[in-house]
Symmetry: C2
Subunit: 361 residues, 2 copies
């Protein structure tokens, strides 16, 4: 199966082999070496001198950790949403009793930083702006650098970024862009199985953590920091994922971060060109199209769910379908992590043949 959903990503053999390695003592010297190396490599990829932690959780755990570690009940939060995952970030903030103001942009478009500026001017007490970097439900990448600049220009708010499906595949120089928390997950551009949520925190976020009053235990970074000092995790981590992630982080450093990013960009261009060649329309405007997942409109005469099922069952290519209000309206090709040109070629061919099959039925 050519798994082309926007995560979990398919894994090369050497990574799978590591995921199948024997268990070790997570409080022994071997683990200490691994966690130190992973922490350094992750920080290097993100370009941050801040703190970084690995939590055993899905990507959503990294979003929750960003919220519960920096905010207090009643805090005013500005949510910038351009799709399903943006809305989820707001739902998490609301679940923890912060007061969330939502700016929602039309699905398929990116956030407009000037609209954010306007909103912030009426929210002088805004504690945090929360925003998705790459909205995998619509295949759109947000201009996080411009948004972050506006936030810092207009307020003292923290910038908390859901970078679950962007970091590692799309430029995200955390310190240069002034981001306070970046959350991501092992099964995306990082080329590892799901199981590890990764977060990085600026000094400002760490300061905010000290006075944050949202109740927390499992996701409390205090414990992760304390244990990291002795090369341990506070709780038993998903070791199979850790083995794989450690390797893949090293592989990214070895290949070169710039190389990895431009490889992502090239595969994305290939996917967009392929869709165009079939006469299909991108869901977002090409200028904001994501380099980790391509969302394509399904032609009016085609049943979108049938297309995805057909490509999977007949041609062995597993595409992502549309989520929520986009169900049946779009298909998505994931191209984050380990992607060869043939993977994309095969995906486009499967779409082409599936469209023909469905039309000739």
């Amino acid at each position: 199966m050519n798994l082309r959903i926007p995560g979990p990503v398919p894994l090369p053999d050497e990574v799978l082999e590591l995921a199948g390695s024997q268990m070790i003592n997570h409080r022994g010297p071997q683990f200490a070496e691994i966690i130190d190396r992973m922490t350094a490599n992750f920080k290097q990829v993100l370009g941050t001198k801040g703190r970084a932690y690995f939590l055993t959780a899905s990507g959503t755990g990294s979003m929750e950790a960003a919220i519960v570690n920096t905010l207090s009940p009643g805090d005013r939060v500005l949510l910038i949403s351009i799709g399903s995952f943006g809305n989820r970030f707001g739902d998490i903030a609301e679940a923890y009793d912060t007061e969330v103001t939502r700016i929602e942009f039309e699905w398929g478009t990116a956030a407009d930083p000037e609209r954010v500026r306007e909103e912030l001017r009426s929210m002088p007490d805004c504690a945090a702006v929360i925003v998705t970097h790459n909205e995998s439900s619509t295949g759109v990448v947000n201009p996080i650098d411009a948004i972050s600049r506006v936030v810092h220009d207009e307020s003292d708010a923290l910038v908390l970024v859901d970078a679950v499906s962007s970091a590692g595949g799309v430029p995200l120089p955390m310190d240069d862009w002034g981001l306070d928390v970046v959350g991501t997950a092992s099964q995306k551009s990082w080329v590892a199985p799901p199981g590890i949520a990764m977060i990085a925190m600026s000094d400002r976020a760490w300061e905010a953590h000290k006075t944050s009053k949202i109740p927390k235990y499992y996701f409390d970074v205090d414990q992760y920091e304390k244990f990291l000092q002795i090369g341990q995790p506070p709780f038993t981590p998903a070791l199979s994922t850790i083995y794989a992630l450690d390797h893949s982080l090293q592989a990214i450093i070895e290949e070169g971060i710039e190389e990895v990013l431009s490889r992502h960009s090239a595969r994305a261009q290939q996917a967009r060109d392929g869709a165009k060649r079939l006469g299909l329309e991108l869901f977002p405007d090409a200028s904001v199209a994501s380099d980790t997942v391509t969302a394509v409109r399904i032609p009016d005469d085609i049943d979108g769910r049938a297309l995805v099922a057909h490509a999977r069952d007949v041609y062995g290519v597993e595409l992502g379908g549309g989520q929520e209000k986009l169900a049946g309206q779009i298909f998505r090709i994931g191209h984050m992590g380990w992607v060869e040109p043939e993977h994309i070629e095969e995906s486009i061919a499967a779409v082409e043949k599936s469209l023909a099959d469905l039309r000739n039925k």
Copy 2:
């Protein structure tokens, strides 16, 4: 390495191979089959007709899920602690602003149900009794059946059980014993890598969940229930662990639950007999000694940390050390999950030789 810490447990080759399997779509039909089968098998092993969920988290996540899904801030909670993990359960409940009354029993002893009865009589509004089944820090198993009977006799409190290091290896018929939430973790008796926290809930716990006001999102069982109905997880799960756990749950059913439990009991007896043969003293009284981990006192003339390091570095047997106030005082032999008689024999031999080496230094 003969890994004999009380989890992660070593895994047989066929389980490791599964952990190294390729990623699949966690929203596709193959995953739906897996999650349905796992849920049924897990419930069968626990002897429950209640609900069961698999969360991507460490075991501590299952303890947190038990608390946040059933209680509200200000609720009165009775913690019964016999060691380090008992204390942690209380810390979690306090982190979420419940009012915790703690009964602590001496480390190495089990809880006395009559003491619990006494306490409950002065807590008519107790919302939940929280208790560790198997205290792996001291190698003691609590009389959960007797404790649960007392709780139900004296109160309407829920019985929330940390069964992280017991379930699957020690009898725990959840419905027969009237337990409301049971939390456990994949890397213990379940013979899988870490990464999946498992919880089961009674109907009473489910009712309590409906009015529970502790803020929650990632661990909210509402979402797990809703998605389980369509054969999906709410968030991307640790697939490598899922593959292994699915297999191991089936293996437990095939071997026979009674067989698995008596195998655990036999290996524990072998460990206790082995320690005795070396003239060593069990840390707990034999009558309450755990069948998943054996805690042994370190002789006065021996440096406990040196013993554990020596057994590991020279004889390839990784024992657990003592935690917190037991650091250097005890060593622990884990024997949950996949344990052959040779594993125990080799562990005892390593202790014997290490003691001799350290004494002859």
